[in-house]
């Protein structure tokens, strides 16, 4: 069995898992909003260029993206950075691919008449996008974003391979100390479950509160 100190170590790992997931989620959402608007653009060239971006980050394993950033940052930008930063960059880019699709769908779900009436009032594109469309799209984007957050928390476990000590790598460390393989991994799995399941419960609560009137429009 695990003793108290080892349990505390796992909790520390869980905290780092949460930290990196939430940071990557925030940064990924900001990139995702920009790309979402470009993906929802009427210009087919712009739409398709950013479709490639989305297809690359959603269509390849996160572990490969982690390795590319891990080996790429030092040689391309001549940067010597921590495992945390490397994992943060890779997971952010990965998340931005998913969030771009969430925001694209949410932006398209906002009624076209909102754009038309704003244009007829003489407002410019950036003002319409940020002040009129975005607030409405953000509300629609909440439930699918919860799904992406859960995905990111689970996939952040892959950051253990490049040496970032989050929950999965921490459980490897505790396992090496104690030789209690099954207990450690089962406890780590339980911690992941508690985190992700509570977030998904929160998600279904929010989904009910926001109401199906907005959500039936979304084709995500």
């Amino acid at each position: 069995m695990l003793n108290f100190n080892q349990f505390i170590l796992l909790l520390k790992g869980a905290r780092l898992t949460l930290e990196i997931s939430i940071l990557a989620m925030l940064a990924g959402s900001i990139i995702g909003i920009f790309i979402g608007f470009l993906r929802a653009s009427k210009n087919p060239v712009i739409r398709n260029i950013f479709r490639i971006y989305v297809d690359i980050f959603r269509g390849s394993p996160l572990i490969i993206q982690l390795f590319i950033i891990y080996y790429g940052l030092p040689i391309i930008f001549d940067l010597d950075v921590s495992a945390f930063f490397t994992a943060f960059i890779a997971i952010t880019l990965y998340t931005s691919g998913y969030m771009a699709e969430v925001f694209k769908a949410s932006i398209e779900a906002v009624s076209i008449t909102q754009w038309e009436s704003a244009y007829s009032l003489g407002l410019t594109y950036p003002v319409i996008a940020l002040k009129i469309i975005l607030p409405q799209a953000l509300k629609i984007a909440v439930p699918p974003s919860i799904g992406v957050l859960i995905l990111v928390i689970k996939d952040s476990s892959l950051a253990s391979v490049i040496g970032f000590t989050e929950l999965t790598r921490m459980s490897n460390i505790v396992r090496a100390q104690t030789f209690t393989t099954f207990d450690v991994y089962a406890m780590a799995a339980l911690l992941y479950f508690i985190i992700c399941y509570s977030i998904s419960l929160l998600g279904s609560y929010l989904e009910k509160r926001i109401g199906s009137s907005e959500l039936h429009k979304i084709n995500y």
Binding site: I56, P61, I64, F193, S200
Partner: protein, 223 residues
Amino acid sequence: MYVFHFNEIFEYLDILWSGMLVTFHLSVLTMLFGTILGIFIAIARLSKNRLVYFLSTMYVEVLRNVPVLLVLYIIYYGISSQLKGMTISAFWASVIALSVNSSAYEAEIIRGGINGIMKEEIEAAFSLSLKKMQVFHYIIIPHALRLIWDALGNQLVAIILGSSIASIITLNELTYNALEIGSRTSRHFETFVVLLFIYVVLGFILSSLFRLIKKMFLRPANL
């Protein structure tokens, strides 16, 4: 300034190819077992028996909220540490972990498809005096398949991408072999860029295949 050398990697195409075969083998077995298991779990999730419903729901919720990497660790390291003398190969541990993980997602997709069929439709079929098997064969399956086809395709692409984590337990599939090439040539970055495109292309081929089959064989849902 770093100079990129991609040509060195192409000297090791045979290693990439043998890794690709293992990835292919692993993915196909996972798709097969994951889908079969998923169908059973989906049926269990629709059961009126409370125990069956509870157990299958727990199965789905646990597996959807735990990283597949930990499932893999538990199967590969955990089970052999609990049961003395029982060892499992990296390949089969990966097949089991990925299948179990995928089955939870597929169960939800399939359940959604069955729920998506309207009650009236089935009642109408029965009122035309079709037998139970006929209703299943002519009404439920074609319609449900059409409803779930896209989601199922995405899930199967996710299996190919997910199979890359088997490299962590040193199964010599595509990602692991790429690491090998990286350490032989010291060109890790270039190797992984090539690998990224291989995975994107593999996923693209499979999803195109799914679209093609949909176009050719699946009747449009006229709802």
